[in-house]
């Protein structure tokens, strides 16, 4: 590898997806005269290769970091340089971003590969791969940028790609609506992001992390509370937290690989990344962080409960994602950034796996997503079934699977960290318990039992199963990057590999393990117990029927707590109503009539004055006389001439 590449590694990580985008978005459609004539093999192949190469660069960056070098920096160019505002595109690959970059490029490559198969029936797949590459590019900017502004570039860029991909099948208005909803809800969050940047810039004159870190001292705490609130607001949008999670389930309208990549593995975790990146800001606003933790817990519960009553396989996974993201926020809220990132990673593995598996199912069932029409697919889709089972075990937190480690750590931190509490722990545990139930329900409805309709799936081609297998391996063993202390000591494994890797970048308050109300081992036991109970409960509950025992509760959950309806009547309708109102009253009645009124007024007075010009000579003479007399009188008797 040449020095040029070597010294600009972060840039190369970025550039390759961009090249892929350029090829698929511009060059290839031009060459083949129209995007609909593009072949999925060529476009998918190029896109996957680009991602693989990018992964390769990310991995070599990781190796360099591992070899002990500090963060890798690349100055690309000065974006804006005014006397009182200047920002440049500067990249840095440090320990945190290298983890993120690996996840993005690694899982990205797999999903690209998978998509070749998934999109094989689509005309004009180049568009799809172009968007996908563009997404990876944006996501990589997000994690590689060394300043907040370019994070925002990526932040909104991924939002755009999400929009484009959700609305990929725009012929159906529902998909397009879902895309718009996703974009708009994200925009609401981004509003906070922009204001946060404004606040930071106004105070510190910079948006670069290193300079912010250098300048921020505890005396800024009050000011930063505002910043923290705004950034948190931004994160709730992007990471689908309460109250802005509503877009994520709808976003399932996009092709399934998109759901896997964007709405499970990468984009939605950007909020967590932001917290980890700006921990020094958030740590100065403990009150906000407590709220974050509780919002995370609440979100985990909301997601987990709604997932119980969904019948669309992707919706279940979507709410599951919401719930898992809640876990991550819970962790960041209490200050356990390592745990959050750890769960982010494992979640990326198993949720991507689950989504891809679901995609494989849907692919096999010719686009059918309703689990009520499935069942018994285990035989037809053995690989898919096996890998999805692994993913499910992981998400349910069955010991030794990756989810077990990361979830346990979060649960432990929820009660052990200074900002933690038993309440948070209880909420987290409950959510973990729910996870087991709905996951079992999904498996049961999809793979087990008898076929409930005429759908007879067929196993997917290797390009789709290969990523499943790879991800299954990761989902199984990924947890060993964060083995808890007690277990590690017992088995002799290295402790918290990931946490220690991150510590130089994201330092975490030292924790006295023995001061925790519930010890680490105890937490593991409780968690395991809960998931096992959950599994059995699920198996018991959903033997014949797939509805919840309580009809009212079922209705409530199936209706997703009617949050969408509430938002519609609380925000959307008033907005349109206000627009209409203004258009009709202030604008329509007043503004648009100002000219009319002036015109009418002028015409009216013109007509009145015109009456004076009645053509009667006598009146003319009288006017003359009156004018004369008046002027004479005034000038005679107003002495001061």
């Amino acid at each position: 590898m040449s020095d040029f590449v070597n010294s600009n590694l972060p840039l190369w990580i970025l550039l390759l997806p961009l090249c892929g985008f350029a090829f698929n978005g511009i060059v290839y459609p031009l060459l083949s005269r129209g995007v609909s004539k593009t072949s999925h093999l060529i476009s998918g192949g190029v896109a996957t290769l680009a991602m693989l190469a990018s992964f390769f660069f990310a991995f070599s960056g990781f190796r360099e970091l591992a070899a002990g070098s500090g963060a890798l920096h690349t100055t690309v160019y000065q974006w804006v340089a005014m006397s009182d505002f200047s920002v440049g595109l500067n990249l840095q690959l440090d320990r945190l971003s290298s983890i993120m970059a690996l996840i993005i490029t690694g899982i990205g490559s797999l999903i690209h590969l998978y998509s070749i198969g998934y999109m094989s029936h689509e005309k004009g797949a180049a568009r799809f791969f172009a968007y996908l590459n563009l997404f990876c590019f944006a996501m990589l900017i997000l994690v590689l940028s060394d300043n907040l502004l370019f994070v925002f570039f990526g932040w909104e860029g991924v939002g755009l790609c999400s929009y484009l991909l959700i609305s990929y099948w725009y012929g159906d208005a529902a998909n397009a609506d879902a895309a718009r909803k996703a974009f708009l809800v994200n925009r609401v969050g981004d509003f906070g992001f922009v204001l946060a940047m404004c606040m930071l810039y106004a105070k510190f004159g910079t948006l670069a992390f290193s300079q912010l870190l250098a300048q921020i001292t505890p005396e800024h705490a009050t000011y930063l509370t505002g910043v923290a609130v705004l950034l948190f607001f931004a994160a709730t949008g992007k990471s689908a937290q309460f109250p802005l999670y509503v877009w994520l389930p709808d976003a399932m309208a996009g092709p399934t690989p998109v759901s896997a990549l964007i709405h499970a593995a990468t984009m939605v975790t950007a909020g967590v990344y932001l917290f980890a990146r700006l921990h020094f800001v958030f740590e100065l606003a403990p009150a906000v962080m407590t709220v974050v933790a509780w919002v995370g817990a609440l979100t985990a519960l909301i997601g987990g409960t709604i997932a119980l009553a969904q019948n669309d396989i992707k919706k279940v996974l979507a709410y599951s994602t919401v719930s898992q993201l809640g876990f991550m926020f819970l962790a960041t809220g209490v200050g356990a950034y390592h745990a959050a990132v750890f769960h982010l990673m494992t979640h990326a593995f198993f949720k991507a796996l689950l989504f891809l598996g679901a995609g494989s199912v849907i692919h096999a069932c010719d686009g059918e997503q309703d689990m009520r029409k499935m069942g018994g697919l285990r035989k037809a889709l053995p690989i898919t079934h096996a890998t999805m089972l692994i993913g499910s075990l992981a998400i349910m937190g069955v010991p030794l699977f990756s989810g077990f480690f990361s979830k346990d750590e979060i649960l432990f931190m929820a009660e052990a960290m200074p900002r933690g509490s038993m309440g948070l722990f209880a909420a987290g545990s409950l959510a973990a318990f729910l996870t087991a139930i709905y996951t079992i329900r999904m498996l049961r409805m999809t793979f087990w039992g008898e076929a409930r309709s005429g759908i007879h799936g067929h196993e997917s081609p290797w390009v789709m199963t290969l990523p499943l297998v790879v991800l299954a391996v990761l989902a199984t063993f990924g947890g060993f990057l964060g083995v808890p202390h007690e277990l590690a000591h017992a088995v002799g494994l290295p402790t918290h590999l990931l946490g220690e890797w991150l510590t130089p970048v994201v330092p975490v308050a030292a924790l006295d393990l023995h001061a925790a109300p519930i010890s680490e081992g105890m937490v593991s036991v409780i968690a395991t117990a809960l998931s096992v109970i959950g599994i059995f409960l699920g198996l018991a509950m959903f033997k014949k029927t797939f509805t919840l025992p309580s009809a009212a509760l079922g209705k409530l959950l199936e209706g997703k707590y009617f949050v969408d309806e509430i938002y519609t009547s609380l925000f959307v309708r008033p907005l349109y109503w206000m627009g209409d109102l203004i258009a009709r009253t202030l604008e329509g009645r007043l503004m648009q009539n100002l000219g009319n009124w002036m015109g009418v007024g002028s015409s009216w007075s013109g007509d009145r004055l015109r009456a004076l010009q009645g053509g009667d000579l006598q009146i003319f003479a009288l006017i003359l006389l009156a004018g004369l007399s008046l002027i004479v009188a005034i000038s005679l008797f107003w002495t001061n001439v």
Binding site: R610, G615, L617, A621, L622
Partner: protein, 100 residues
Amino acid sequence: MDTGVLLHLLSAWLFCMGLLAICVRRNTLVMLMGIELMLNGVNLSFVTFAHELQQLSGQLQVFFVITIAAAESAVGLSILVNVYRNFGSIKTDRTQTLRG
């Protein structure tokens, strides 16, 4: 009251009566006479001032004014004739087609 003031007051009277004639009479011929009345008032004023100022030029102005008045009434009467031809009347209630 001396002569000058009396005559001045008379001139003002004549002038204003001329205006009055124009304002109240609907017969344009009488209106024309009203103008003549006004001019006569002016003439009287000139003469009186000349008298008071012991100046001759004031009387000369009157000479000009009388001549002009004569010319004016000639033109005026021909205009009346013209109006009469067009409207069949010289009363102002008829000549009101131009308006607005």
